[in-house]
Amino acid sequence: MKIAITAKGKELGSDIDTRFGRCEYFVIVDTETMEFEAIMNESAMASGGAGPQAAQTISKIGAKVLITGNVGPNAHQTLEAAGIEIITGSNGKVGDMAEKYKNGELSSTNAPTVGRHAGM
């Protein structure tokens, strides 16, 4: 299964970017094989609506889970519509969070964790 992790770099050793809509990269990890690829977040510089646009990006890639720091209300609504499980409050390294998810140590959230424009 593919999970999307918001990151400041392109590697499993990169730090988590705690913003969702305006994170620098998405590291997409396949939890079965731990293979990964990084994609640049083109929504990072959007004038508005970065959250919903980023949610569409990871939905198109086929991610079923998002691991990040915070999500705002519009991002949350879009992710929920896309059926993507949302895990917030993450920090540290991308690879460590992926391992924790695999081991069932992370729990999902069902509400936005920040207000609008928190990642600006």
């Binding site: 929504s43 959007a46 004038s47 508005g48 609506g49 970065a50 919903p52 646009q53 949610a55 569409q56 939905s59 519009n74 609504q77 879009t78 992710l79 519509a81 896309a82 059926g83």
Partner: protein, 276 residues
């Protein structure tokens, strides 16, 4: 003639300059474009009366006709429309009302409905009409109201526009399509910093401009040196006079309470006329 009073920094005295300039010259009108917090009207006794509602066209989606092709999503520069899986989402607070999605839709699944964003009110007198706009609470985007406010400028009068602070869309909209722009600053490092940002914007727009220093006597001389170096005309300096502040706090314009200041505004207007 149209003159906009702007500044990067808030609280430098835009409204003070706009109101007193309008009161000091003949045949003027005042349009307060700070639709998030208009306050010019406080200096006029006459009540503000509602003239009209302002709306933008918002898309309404017929989901039975929509094929989820995503053309509207790609078109929208403001990311107001999302499609995920089989679902279409519309975020009305992101929509700028441009109408593009309706034009781009290949199956005519979009109609437009009026989305009310605020009102325009009028007060003042026959000699000096005052207009302002009020953005509805919760609405994020004041430009459509500013656009409509600008239509009330009377070509036979000198119109003074009181701009919102900052250098974003609402301020840019107020600073363009006018004959002159007065940039108000205070002689402090913060005032200078935001003045330089506004100068960058006004140079891009191309409107002739000059600087007014308010609360002269506080801070330092860096604004003077900056204007000299950049060849920016210094139109006037208003002293840091406690009596001006005292009058302001009771809603009395300085040219009414301290008529000796009227000359300063008349001379400022003469200099502006020479520059355009």
């Amino acid at each position: 003639m149209k003159i906009t009073v702007a500044s990067g920094k808030g609280g430098t005295g835009k409204t003070t300059i706009a109101v007193n300039l309008a009161l000091s010259i003949k045949n003027s009108m005042l349009i307060d474009c700070d639709v998030e917090g208009p306050n010019s009207h406080i200096f006029f006794k006459e009540p503000m009366v509602k003239l009209k509602d302002v709306s933008i066209p918002a898309p309404k989606f017929d989901l039975d006709t929509c094929t989820l092709c995503g053309k509207c999503v790609d078109f929208c520069q403001y990311n107001a429309i999302s499609i995920v899986g089989e679902k279409l989402l519309f975020f009305d607070e992101l929509c700028h009302g441009c109408g593009g999605c309706k034009i781009i839709c290949p199956v005519d699944a979009i109609t437009e409905v009026e989305h009310y964003v605020g009102v325009i009110e009028k007060g003042g007198t026959g000699d000096l009409p005052v207009y302002h706009g009020m953005l509805n609470i919760g609405e994020p985007f004041g430009v459509p109201i500013i656009n409509e406010l600008k239509q009330f400028a009377d070509d036979k009068k000198t119109t003074i526009f009181d701009s919102p602070p900052g250098t974003a869309c609402p301020a840019v909209e107020t600073m363009r399509d006018v004959d002159f722009c007065i940039l108000v600053t205070e002689p402090t490092p913060f005032g200078l910093h935001d003045l330089t940002l506004t100068v960058d914007v006004i140079r891009e727009i191309g409107t002739p401009y000059g600087v007014v220093v308010n609360r002269d006597g506080i801070g330092d001389d860096r604004v003077d040196r900056y204007c000299e170096k950049e060849n920016i005309p210094l139109l006037a300096k208003i002293p840091n006079d406690l009596e001006i502040a005292r009058l302001y706090s009771s809603g009395v314009p300085m040219v009414k309470g301290l008529p000796e200041y009227r000359k300063l505004f008349e001379e400022m207007f003469d200099r502006i006329k020479e520059m355009i």
